[in-house]
Subunit: 199 residues, 2 copies
DNA sequence: CCTATTCTAGAGCGGACGTTTTAGAACGCC
DNA sequence: GGCGTTCTAAAACGTCCGCTCTAGAATAGG
């Protein structure tokens, strides 16, 4: 052991994530990151290896603290139908409130097509989200709160697709009625054929 | 009048569009564009003014030749319900076949949030697409091929959202079953409550 | 206290960026 | 046939890129 680090890993990673989130990977320079993190480039390289490695770390941390946390929270505390509704409503609310959008979606378009390593991570996380929707739909079809007729896999696929679409629209056409209308209709698709459902 | 241009505007704009489409705006350098267009940077600047102006031109041309052409073709030749179905199926097929995705969607995430001028163009074109879906849904509800209950505006909003989402997923998780499943379900939402419909 | 190790600071690496300048070649018009 | 204009070609502008090097400050163990 020798001299200790002068900065807090959590704080500087938060700052780096915010930069990538706001500006994208390519448009964020190492000097930009350094300034936001309060670090000189050399310290940044000493601590995290490279811009690419730092991005991978930020993305992973982001997904743990946003997507996975949300999935775990909703699945533990809500009925399946309500979990889906809450998820979609949270996406709409966040999309309208936070101009940065979603780092996962931003990266899915900017980084994934040209970076196999990050691309694999992103595809896997999208798969986790699809799996969450699928579990919710299956459980909802079992308890009668979701229409039994449509295939659960396809409903999960459409829900995932809708989340992606909402995130894109929010960044270029951030109109509340647009996002809310789309979310309302995709949720309507879950309704069982008769208004009544088991209590 | 003096010396004539040695290149064909259409051909070089096609080449430039392909570069922006494939790599995005920021990741495409002027030298890159020049090489693809067979032009030295000075000629490019002489002919098109700047990288930004060239991009705006390419985006406009792209939208005329892809989105607007498709809308006009479908609206002229198909019943409203079939027009929507054909549009969605074409999006899925193209997304799976062309790794470049959609220049409009790519730009909606990469360029629009940081470029007010391009952002305005993109928001307007997304509005045109939403309006197309809205016209189709209204006409389909009139002729009985689309369920009358859901609000046409919301259906149009969800269709637009789904197109955006399909384009995003195709670039990071290009699985045919995923895209086809999502498209199938959003089209199922259009079905009138009883399988029979007027003919 | 001394040494070994790890940190920070800042200058600097070669190269690429968007753009402009300079030089000269090709054409319409008087 | 020269003139004026517009083209092409290539070098060069200053700036920023991701990254590394050198120097010195700080700390733990012997």
């Amino acid at each position: 052991m020798a001299r200790a680090r002068e900065f807090d890993d959590d704080a500087v990673l938060d700052a780096a994530t915010d930069r990538f989130w706001r500006q994208g990977y390519a448009a964020t320079s190492v000097r930009d990151l350094g300034a936001a993190m309060g670090l000189v480039p050399a310290s940044l390289y000493n601590a995290f290896g490279s811009k690419h490695a730092l991005f991978a770390l930020c993305l992973d941390r982001y997904l743990d603290r946003n997507m996975r946390e949300r999935i775990a929270r909703l699945e533990a505390r809500q009925t399946p139908r309500v979990a889906i509704e809450t998820f979609m409503n949270e996406i709409v609310a966040r999309s309208l409130a936070d101009p940065r959008g979603c780092l996962l979606v931003n990266s899915a378009l900017e980084v994934a097509p040209h970076d196999a390593e990050i691309g694999t991570v992103i595809a896997a996380r999208l798969g986790e989200l699809e799996a969450f929707f699928h579990r919710c739909v299956l459980a909802g079809q079992r308890d009668g709160s979701i229409a039994a007729a449509p295939p659960a896999r396809d409903l999960a696929r459409l829900l995932l697709t809708t989340v992606m679409g909402l995130r894109v629209l929010a960044r270029s056409k951030p109109e509340p009625v647009l996002l809310r209308g789309a979310a309302r209709q995709v949720l309507a698709l879950l309704d069982p054929p008769f208004a009544e459902q088991s209590t």
